[in-house]
Every structure is written in structure tokens, then in C-alpha cells.
């Protein structure tokens, strides 16, 4: 087990936890050092993983998952394993998570009570990494919960505004989702094999393909809604604006950047991957919901005046697009969905980082109370414009490629209904432009609104490092999309889509 590189995605955060636990409360330097070294190690690890993964793929390893290890049994009576393995999607997600953890560390350079903060933050990321590497449903669910719980404390303690309310709401709604999810997962477990060898292992379940169609129609909504709550699917999205608005910067980054991806990833990995028949049959219900998310979130963002609310609604819109594309059940749209997850993760993290930095200076997030910040803090202003451009889908930045892949993929769907909905979803690009430019125009451009803001300073080095890293990542996806598409595409090996072949035909 220990020779498998994947396990270190969990081991390193645990070591970081121990390291920070040993640090003195007041020794901020040591705490930061542990956090930076650890997240750097994770970043390096994920890069190595990426290279190694591509190397193995190039060498002809065409199994659905690589680095699979299924030897550790946790609880024999229920056949729960610590099963790990990755495919292209997980690799991409791990890469994303480590980048955001790395930048999030820098974004929370000056946080109060750093020891406790980093302890919870890293516990959260342990859950996230664990979730992405596990292929055992139960283990996956456990890591999922590990990722959710620290959020309550992180928002409740370090948040701002109505933090208690938001933290409670967020946790309860996500827990409500988890309840559905748990039900769905247990249902899957009990139908995981026709011959009685029940298993939690995703690969085995997919290979068995034993879940009866009637049960799929019951379990698919369970799991899809369960994960969909975290993916901010309409009408279960309302935790997101409040939660993000109250959360501290790094938590917003990690939450919107990575945690919401758990939802999309879970929908793909569990709901669609294991129950494709139900997905095909019920897709229209969820298409309507996600289609509404896409447009609705964008419209709501148009009239909000709190920066974080705007961004949270835009996340609703963008994450809605992820789920939307997943439901299209064809390779291109799903590739687009994964790209959108990467892209949205990076750019929304960038947004939240910048909002946090601006808030840290002006102490307000109301766009009506700010103006002309471009002149005062050009660096942050330029970064914000770049983030905005990425969000509204400017070619050369990540938003464009992912959205286009989604639209083209979705429009390939043979069914008229799906194509019409694709057009509806397309409309979001205009609305996105409206609210992004509205914010940029009010916040950054125009005359300086508040004389006091004139004395504010531009970004510090750690803030620059954090934002520039994210921008480079966003631009890398935007400029060289085919690299990522290849990485993801190889995941959709014929076995996965053998089932889907009957449901969707790409021209």
C-alpha cells in the first residue's frame, strides 16, 4: 500500500496536521512553514502523479483506473476496503485541489488563530484528497463527510457577517444531501452484484452492472440529488450564497474551488457511472433543474451588490453547467463538464481570493460603496479583470474552452429537447457578461468612490504569488486545452460508454 503514490495524498495532510499540532500557538512562522511545505509537497506530488499517469497511459496502460490498490480491508463483514485508484479525471481534480490548497495557504497568510485555522483547513483538504483517490463507495463517503464537517467550524469561527446562521445552514443542507446520498450508496451496495458478493468497489460494480433498472430509477435520483446539493443544483443551492458570503477567503476558495467539485465529480463517478440507464431515462428532470440553475444563477447575480453573493450565484450558474453537461451522457459534453470543473475551480478561487484581498483593505464588499479601485490597486484590479474575463468565457482563458466543449457536446445530443435546453444554457454567456462587466465597471473603473480608499496599498508578495499562480493555471487551460482534454478523454474508455452507447450517439 505504501508504495502507491496515491496514499500520500492522505498521508501528507495527516503529517501536516501532526506538524501543526506540534507547533506553538504563537509561532506563526512555523505554522505557515508547515502549511506551505505541506501544500508544496502535495503540489509536487500531484505534478509527479500527472506525469507518471500520462507516462503510463502513453505506454499503453488502458485500464479504466491506474494506481489501483484494493488490499487494505477496513471492515470485513461489510466488505469495506481502503480502495484507491485514479483515472484522468481524478488526476485533474487532485491537481486542482493541490493548486487551490497551495494558493489558499497564501491567501490566508494573515489569518487570526492560525494554528486552529490551518488544522481545520488541512483536515478539510484531507477529506477532499481522500475523496478523489478512493474508489470504494464507503471510503469515499467517509472522506466526503470529513471534508464537510470542518466547514462548519471554519465558517462559524473565522467567518464574517451572519456566520452562525450561514455555517449552520450550509452544514445542515449538505448533511441533508448526505442523507440522501447515504441511502443511495447503501442501495447500490445491496445491488452491487448479482451473485451475492456485495461490494463497495466502484470498478467492480460498474463491471458487474447488476443494479436492476427499477432500482436504478430509485437510486439515481438519491445519489444525484445527494451530490447535487453540494454541486449547488437548483433548488438546493441556497446554502451557497450565504455560506460563501460568510466564509473566510481561503475557505471560500477551497469550498467553491474544490468542494463544489466533489458534487460534480460524485455525480459523475457514482450516479452516472454506476447507473447509466437511469441517467438516460431520468436525465430530462435533472436537465430542467440544472438548466434553471444555469440561467437562474446568472440572473440573480445581476442584481446582487455584495461581491461574494455575486460570485456565489455565478458559481451556481457555472456549477449548474457542470451537472448539465454530465447529464448529456456523451464524451464531449462530459469532457466539457470536467474541464468546466477545473476551470470554474481555478477562476472562482481566484475571484474569492481577490474579493478577500479587496475586502481586507476596504472592509466592505458592497460594490455600491467602492469604485475606481483600478487606480488605487492596479495589480488586484488587473487580476480581477482577468478573472472576470475568464468567467465570461474569453478565448485564451479557461472559461471559454470548457463552455464551448459543453455547448458543442450538449448540442450533439440526438434528442431535440436536450438541444433546446442547450440553447437555453447558452444564453447564460450573455447574462454572465452582464453581471461581470457590471461589477468590473462599478468596482474597478470610474471615479474613486471613497476618499479613504486612496491610501490603500496594492497586493503584498504572498497575495501576488497566490493570484499569479491561479492566473497561470487558468491561462494554461485556456491556451492548451487539448492537453487536458486528452488527459480526461482517455478516461472515457469504451467500457464506461458501452452502456451509454445505446443512449446517445455522437455524430
Amino acid at each position: 500500500m505504501l508504495t502507491n503514490p496515491l496514499i500520500y495524498f492522505v498521508v501528507i495532510p495527516l503529517l501536516m496536521l501532526a506538524g501543526i499540532g506540534l507547533c506553538n500557538n504563537r509561532n506563526v512562522g512555523a505554522i505557515r512553514a508547515v502549511a506551505v511545505i505541506g501544500s508544496l509537497a502535495l503540489l509536487t506530488l500531484s505534478t509527479f502523479l500527472l506525469v507518471d499517469f500520462l507516462g503510463q497511459r502513453a505506454a499503453g496502460a488502458d485500464a479504466a483506473m491506474l494506481f489501483v490498490n484494493d488490499t487494505v480491508v477496513w471492515f470485513a463483514p461489510l466488505n469495506i476496503h481502503l480502495a484507491i485508484g485514479v483515472d484522468g479525471i481524478s488526476v485533474a481534480m487532485l491537481m486542482l485541489s493541490s493548486i487551490i490548497l497551495f494558493t489558499g495557504t497564501f491567501a490566508s497568510w494573515k489569518i487570526d488563530q492560525p494554528k486552529e485555522f490551518f488544522l481545520w483547513l488541512i483536515l478539510l483538504s484531507t477529506g477532499v484528497f481522500g475523496f478523489f483517490i478512493s474508489i470504494d463507495l464507503f471510503t469515499m463517503f467517509m472522506f466526503y463527510e470529513v471534508a464537510l464537517i470542518p466547514m462548519y467550524l471554519l465558517i462559524g469561527v473565522w467567518g464574517s457577517g451572519r456566520k452562525n446562521y450561514s455555517a449552520m445552514k450550509l452544514t445542515l443542507m449538505l448533511m441533508g444531501g448526505s442523507a440522501f446520498l447515504m441511502l443511495g450508496l447503501i442501495g447500490i451496495y445491496y445491488h452491487s452484484a448479482a451473485d451475492g458478493n456485495l461490494t463497495w468497489n466502484i470498478l467492480t460494480i460498474a463491471a458487474n452492472d447488476a443494479i436492476p433498472h427499477g432500482w436504478q430509477n430509485f437510486l439515481f435520483p438519491m445519489t444525484f440529488v445527494g451530490f447535487g446539493v453540494l454541486g449547488a443544483m437548483f433548488p438546493f443551492h441556497t446554502w451557497s450564497p450565504d455560506g460563501h458570503a460568510s466564509a473566510p477567503t481561503a475557505v471560500s476558495m477551497l469550498h467553491a474551488g474544490v468542494l463544489m467539485k466533489l458534487g460534480g465529480y460524485g455525480c459523475f463517478r457514482v450516479a452516472i457511472y454506476l447507473m447509466p440507464y437511469a441517467a438516460a431515462e431520468l436525465s430530462y428532470i435533472f436537465l430542467i433543474l440544472t438548466g434553471i440553475s444555469v440561467v437562474y444563477g446568472a440572473f440573480c447575480a445581476c442584481v446582487k451588490t455584495d461581491l461574494k453573493y455575486i460570485n456565489a450565484y455565478s458559481s451556481v450558474s457555472h456549477c449548474g453547467l457542470v451537472l448539465f453537461a454530465i447529464l448529456m451522457l456523451n464524451t464531449t459534453a462530459m469532457t466539457g463538464a470536467i474541464m468546466q470543473m477545473l476551470s470554474h475551480g481555478l477562476m472562482t478561487a481566484l475571484f474569492f481570493a481577490l474579493i478577500g484581498m479587496i475586502y481586507g483593505r476596504t472592509h466592505t464588499r458592497e460594490i455600491t460603496k467602492m469604485g475606481g479601485l483600478m487606480k488605487i490597486m492596479p495589480f488586484l484590479g488587473v487580476c480581477y479583470v482577468i478573472a472576470g474575463m475568464a468567467s465570461l468565457g474569453l478565448p485564451g482563458l479557461s472559461g471559454f474552452v470548457s463552455e464551448m466543449t459543453i455547448f458543442v457536446g450538449s448540442f450533439m445530443h440526438a434528442d431535440m429537447f436536450h438541444r433546446v435546453f442547450t440553447i437555453v444554457a447558452c444564453c447564460s454567456i450573455v447574462i454572465t457578461a452582464v453581471y461581470i462587466l457590471r461589477v468590473v465597471g462599478k468596482l474597478l473603473f470610474g471615479p474613486v468612490y471613497d476618499e479613504h480608499h486612496l491610501s490603500l496599498t496594492d497586493a503584498e508578495w504572498w497575495e501576488r504569488l497566490s493570484t499569479v499562480t491561479l492566473i497561470i493555471a487558468v491561462a494554461a487551460i485556456g491556451c492548451f486545452p487539448n492537453f487536458f482534454v486528452d488527459l480526461i478523454n482517455k478516461t472515457f474508455t469504451p467500457e464506461i460508454f458501452s452502456v451509454l452507447g445505446m443512449t446517445s450517439t455522437a455524430l
Binding site: Y296, G441, G446, P481, V485
Partner: protein, 668 residues
């Protein structure tokens, strides 16, 4: 063909953008300006070389048997959707892209040079953000070049978006000015809305066709030559057949192909400011004047025309689409010309004139049919695009020079400038003559061809467009007389007299004026035609059409001469004679107000706000009420835990008795 030069043509502006954008703040203004000009100058030389190679080298890749072919210099897969469907970034050389290379690099270089003088005040101090300005100009040039050499419709869309963004950045260059900010926002959002149509059109087209390549949509490969294609009617006929076989014959009142083409044209309407999506262009004049010259007169706004021209063979398949283009173009042309007659701001007059002239090109494309003079309209449109780019850029740069000298956009502050700014005066006059269509200036030839094409299609179109041409001559000379004649220039106390500008500004004016004088004699039909077959204008030249159009132009000029040469009461009388018409024209037919109403009252007030309210109160309220219900329920059962032991005994007893009762019931 060697790929180095094409790659350099695209790479140099991009590099300049990154260099000036990232490191610009570290270098001096002067260095940045010179770097920008040098970069663009290099691209100019390379583009001229490429175009010359294409048109005159006689290489069989570019033309065989006198037929000009499309040649793909390189085509790199950028984003693969499916094995057959991929966005590629490539470099397509054909008559129109080669012509556009010349146009873009010429104007762009002129603007780069001109801005060296324009973007500084009278004391020679450079404006704040000078490096940024050059960076954005380079970005724009890059995107525009990428747009015209696109090998597939998606590449075009990519650069289409990029030019939109760089236009946004340049219009909002003076970002402290609220009007500039809102103008840039408006420009971006209106064109974005149009791009939505473009995107949907692309999606529909690609859904049936299966890929995005122009070489598949409009041309077929030449058997003997690699990567070389000839435009012919067979390819679009094949596409039309695919649609006929697979798509529903009628979808909401039109065939699916018509819808796709009209939606794509909608993208063009947005960029080219056709009615009703024209409202952004007059506002876009908030940007620095060189930007207006480059983007909003010469290059970006003709992208819509270019798009239709690029897909022209496909449009030929659907007559309805072409008719729609014609009608939209004709209405826009007249509308913009009427509005231009009443505006005070000289840049706005030029903006509406641009709209009107682009509409000319659109109409010309709309009326082009191969059966009539080998689609004369297509050539005429491209020709007019070329000449218009030159003289409109010239007019804008002149206007910029005047604004720079006077410090105001309003012609009421100008008058009688001919004595003070002779170079500007003469070049402006040349520009006006060219746009009015006076022989031998370039506008005459192109406009005359457009009118011939209209006549060949339908006499209504011809009369209509001739009327617009007359109006064009009138409003341009109205502008000219009001700026340079009318009455003596009044110099305010403490101001020095306006004077001609530095050589960096004058040189571009002179060059462009020279081009405007001679460009009409370029044998354009030899170079550009819809299917590559050379076409001799002179053989088809119709003196009656030319004579009439000349007469109309002269009449327009004469009217302007009478009304505006020196101060008199005629304009006032005219205004009082048709007050309603004048007011409507002056207020641009209240389009802005209509849009304001739609966006603010309907979209924001009628959709966004209710939705946000719905979200906070209904959706969120439901979620909160779950919590509230749980809370209430627990409050309700809380008294059960009273701490009174005897109550617990009661519950216990009741429970036991109930259990006993149930058992008894079961046993019995």
C-alpha cells in the same frame, strides 16, 4: 508555402501584447511606443509580402488557370471535441484574407504611428497608461489578424470574441470616465448578445455538418494540390443536401439552414452594428480617436461583412437569408444616414456614417447573385470594404487631429479651421470626396459597383441605396463645411491658435489620403471575386449608373454647400420645416431609450429582481422554513422533558398499558 512568415504575422502582435502588458510599466512611454510601432511595422512588411506572394507570385498553390484558390498554410488542432470535430488554429490564404491582411496591417500601423503623437498633450507629456494602450492595440491587431485568416468557423468565433474583448478594453481606456466605462460595457454586452446568435448558428451548422471547416462548408479540395481548395457551388450544395436530408423542413417559419445562417448573420449584425444592434457603436466613440479609427471604422466593424463574405457560397443556398441581409442592410443604411445629418459630435457623425457604409457592404452582399454579373455585389462589397477602411480611417484620424487641437468633440467649437490646419483640411476633404463618391477618388468606384449590383437585383434597392448615397454626400460635406468653413474660428482668451500636428500624426493622414486618391484604380475584380475567377469591371462598367450616382453625389454636396458654406439661417429653417423628423433623427430614433427600457425595466426590473426576490424569499424561505418547522416541533415536544419524575412515570405507564393493550389485541 513557408509557415514562418504567417506564424510571425500572428506571433509578433501577441508577443508585443504580452511584453507591453506585463513589462510595460517598467519601460518608458517612448520605448513602449517605439516597440509597438516597430512590431506593427514588421507585421506590415510581412503581411504585404504575404499578400503580394498570394496575388502575384503565380505559385500554383494560390491560383491555377487564372482561378484564385484557398490555401491553408498551417492548421493546428487546438481543441478536439470528437475525432472529426475539432477547433483548429490555422492560417488560410485566399483573396479576401490576403486583402484583409493588407487592410488591417496598414491601418493598424498608421494608428500605431499616429498614437505616438495623439496620446500626449500639447506639452508632449505622454498620457497615463500609454504602454497599456499599445499593449491593447497589439492585442487587437493579433485578434483581428487571427480572425481574418481563420480556417474554420470556430477559430473565427474565438478571435471574434477576442476582438470584442480588446474593443472593450480600448473603449474603456479612459476608465476613470463613467461614460467611457458604460460605453465599453454596452459595446461588449450588445456584441455578446449577437455572438450568442453566432454561437447557436455555429452549433446548428456543426450539428448537421459535423465539423467547422470552411473548406468543408464552402469549397472543395483541389485534387492535385495539398491543402488547397477552390470555392465552388458544389460544397455548399452538398451541405444544403445534408440539411434537406436530416433536418426538419420547416422550423418556426424557416428552414433549419436558414435559421443557422440568419443566426450566424446575427453575430455579424452585432459586430457590424446593423440595426437593431447598432446602438453600441456611437457610444464606442468614447474611446481614444485612433482606436475609433482602427476598430470602429476600419477593421473590427467590418468583421460582420467579412463573416458573410466568408460563408457567402453557403448563403447562396438560402435566398431567404440573403434577402434578410439585404433588408437589414438597407434599413440600417438609410437610418444611419438620416441620423448622421443631425448629430453635433463629429465623431458621432462619423460613427453613423460608418454604420451606413457598412450597411452598404451588407446590402451589396445581400444582392449578389452568381447569375448577375458573376456576383458583382460580392466584389463590390469587398472593394468598398477596402476603400472604406482607408478613407474612414483617414476621416477619423483627421477628426482626432482636430479634437486634439481643439479639445472638444462638438463642431460648434470648431468652424473655420481651414486656415489653421491646412494638412488636416486637405486630407479631410479628400476623405469626404472619397466617401461621397466623386470621381476619381476611391469611394466612387466601389460605391458605383454597389449601386450597379443593386440595380441588377432590384430597382427598389437601387433607388433606395442611391438616395442613401446622396444623403452620404450631404452629411459628409455638412460636417466638412461646419468644421472648416461656416464662420471664422473664435480663439478663446488664453488659448493659442489651433495648428497642424506633429509629423507622427500628419504622416498617416497623408499616406491614407494618397491611398484614398488612387485606390479606386486597383483592378479589384482581378484580385477578389466570390469564386476566384477574375472579373473585369471595366468590361461591365455601366456609364449610366455611374453618371447618375455621380450626379446624386454632386447634388448632395451642392446642397451642403448652399446650407453650410457660410453662416446663414437655412439650417434653422430646414429644422423648423420638419421638426418631428429632425427631433427623431437627433435622438437617433430613441433606440437608446428603448434599449434602456428593455434592459433596465424589463430585464433588470422584470426578471432579475423578481428572480432574486424569489430566490431569497421563496426558495431560501422554503429551506429556512424546514429549519423553522424543526425548531418549532422541538419546541413543541420540549415540555415533555419537564423534569417532573411523576410525569415520566405517567408516560411510562401509558406506554406499558398501550403495549399491553396491543399485546392483548394481538392475542385475542
Amino acid at each position: 508555402m513557408d509557415v514562418t512568415i504567417p506564424i510571425l504575422i500572428l506571433a509578433i502582435p501577441l508577443t508585443m501584447f504580452l511584453l507591453l502588458g506585463i513589462a510595460g510599466c517598467k519601460m518608458s512611454h517612448r520605448t513602449a511606443g517605439i516597440l509597438g510601432c516597430l512590431g506593427m511595422g514588421t507585421v506590415l512588411v510581412l503581411a504585404y509580402y504575404t499578400a503580394a506572394q498570394y496575388f502575384f507570385s503565380g505559385n500554383e498553390l494560390f491560383g491555377a488557370d487564372g482561378v484564385r484558390l484557398q490555401h491553408i498554410v498551417f492548421n493546428q488542432t487546438w481543441l478536439e471535441f470528437t475525432p472529426t470535430m475539432a477547433i483548429k488554429l490555422g492560417f488560410l490564404l485566399d483573396p479576401i484574407s490576403a486583402m484583409m491582411l493588407v487592410v488591417i496591417t496598414t491601418i493598424s500601423f498608421m494608428v500605431h504611428l499616429y498614437s505616438m503623437g495623439y496620446m500626449r498633450d500639447h506639452h508632449g507629456v505622454y498620457e497615463h497608461g500609454f504602454q497599456r494602450f499599445y499593449a491593447f492595440l497589439s492585442l487587437f491587431s493579433f485578434s483581428m489578424l487571427g480572425l481574418v485568416v481563420a480556417t474554420n468557423i470556430f477559430q473565427m468565433y474565438i478571435f471574434w470574441e477576442l476582438v470584442g474583448a480588446s474593443s472593450y478594453l480600448l473603449i474603456g481606456f479612459y476608465y476613470v470616465k463613467p461614460s467611457a466605462v458604460s460605453a465599453s460595457k454596452k459595446a461588449f454586452i450588445v456584441t455578446r448578445f449577437a455572438d450568442l446568435g453566432f454561437l447557436i448558428g455555429i452549433l446548428i451548422l456543426s450539428y448537421y455538418v459535423g465539423n467547422f471547416d470552411f473548406m468543408n462548408l464552402t469549397s472543395s479540395p483541389v485534387a492535385s494540390l495539398a491543402e488547397t481548395f477552390s470555392v465552388d457551388i458544389a460544397a455548399p450544395q452538398h451541405i444544403a443536401q445534408i440539411f434537406a436530408d436530416n433536418a426538419a423542413p420547416v422550423f418556426m417559419g424557416g428552414s433549419v439552414l436558414t435559421w443557422a445562417l440568419v443566426l450566424i448573420f446575427m453575430g455579424g449584425m452585432g459586430k457590424s452594428a446593423m440595426m437593431p444592434l447598432h446602438i453600441w457603436l456611437p457610444d464606442a466613440m468614447e474611446g481614444p480617436t485612433p482606436v475609433s479609427a482602427l476598430i470602429h471604422a476600419a477593421t473590427m466593424v467590418v468583421a460582420g461583412v467579412y463573416l458573410v463574405a466568408r460563408l457567402f457560397p453557403l448563403y447562396l443556398m438560402e435566398d431567404t437569408a440573403l434577402v434578410i441581409i439585404t433588408v437589414v442592410g438597407a434599413i440600417t443604411a438609410l437610418y444611419a444616414a438620416m441620423v448622421a445629418c443631425t448629430q453635433l459630435d463629429i465623431k458621432r457623425v462619423l460613427a453613423f456614417s460608418t454604420i451606413s457604409q457598412i450597411a452598404f457592404m451588407m446590402v451589396s452582399l445581400g444582392v449578389a447573385r452568381p447569375e448577375h454579373h458573376e456576383a458583382l455585389g460580392y466584389m463590390a462589397s469587398m472593394f468598398h470594404l477596402f476603400t472604406h477602411a482607408m478613407f474612414k480611417a483617414l476621416l477619423f484620424l483627421c477628426a482626432g487631429a482636430i479634437i486634439h487641437a481643439i479639445g472638444s468633440n462638438d463642431y460648434t467649437d470648431m468652424h473655420g479651421l481651414r486656415k489653421y490646419m491646412p494638412i488636416t483640411h486637405w486630407t479631410f476633404l479628400i476623405g469626404c470626396l472619397a466617401i461621397a463618391g466623386i470621381i476619381p477618388f476611391s469611394g466612387f468606384f466601389s460605391k458605383d459597383e454597389i449601386l450597379s449590383a443593386c440595380l441588377g437585383y432590384d430597382w427598389v434597392a437601387y433607388v433606395w441605396m442611391s438616395l442613401v448615397a446622396g444623403l452620404t454626400a450631404f452629411y459628409m460635406f455638412r460636417l466638412y463645411f461646419l468644421i472648416f468653413w461656416w464662420k471664422e474660428h473664435k480663439i478663446h482668451e488664453g488659448h493659442h491658435a489651433p495648428h497642424d500636428q506633429a509629423w507622427t500624426m500628419s504622416l498617416p493622414l497623408i499616406i491614407l489620403a494618397a491611398i484614398s486618391c488612387v485606390a479606386g484604380f486597383i483592378p479589384f475584380g482581378e484580385l477578389v471575386s466570390w469564386n476566384g475567377h477574375p472579373y473585369d469591371f471595366m468590361a461591365h462598367f455601366d456609364w449610366s449608373v455611374a453618371g447618375i450616382s455621380l450626379a446624386i453625389a454632386v447634388a448632395g454636396i451642392a446642397l451642403a454647400w448652399v446650407m453650410y458654406r457660410r453662416e446663414n439661417a437655412l439650417p434653422e429653417k430646414f429644422r423648423n420645416a420638419v421638426p418631428a423628423l429632425w427631433t427623431w433623427c437627433y435622438h437617433r430614433f430613441y433606440w437608446d431609450e428603448l434599449y434602456m427600457f428593455i434592459t433596465h425595466k424589463i430585464i433588470f426590473g422584470g426578471i432579475c429582481r423578481p428572480l432574486a426576490w424569489f430566490d431569497r424569499n421563496i426558495i431560501d424561505g422554503t429551506m429556512d422554513s424546514f429549519a423553522a418547522v424543526t425548531n418549532k416541533a422541538s419546541e413543541a415536544i420540549r415540555p415533555l422533558q419537564s423534569g417532573q419524575i411523576q410525569m415520566y412515570v405517567w408516560y411510562y405507564l401509558i406506554g406499558v398499558l398501550a403495549l399491553a393493550g396491543i399485546c392483548a389485541a394481538c392475542i385475542l
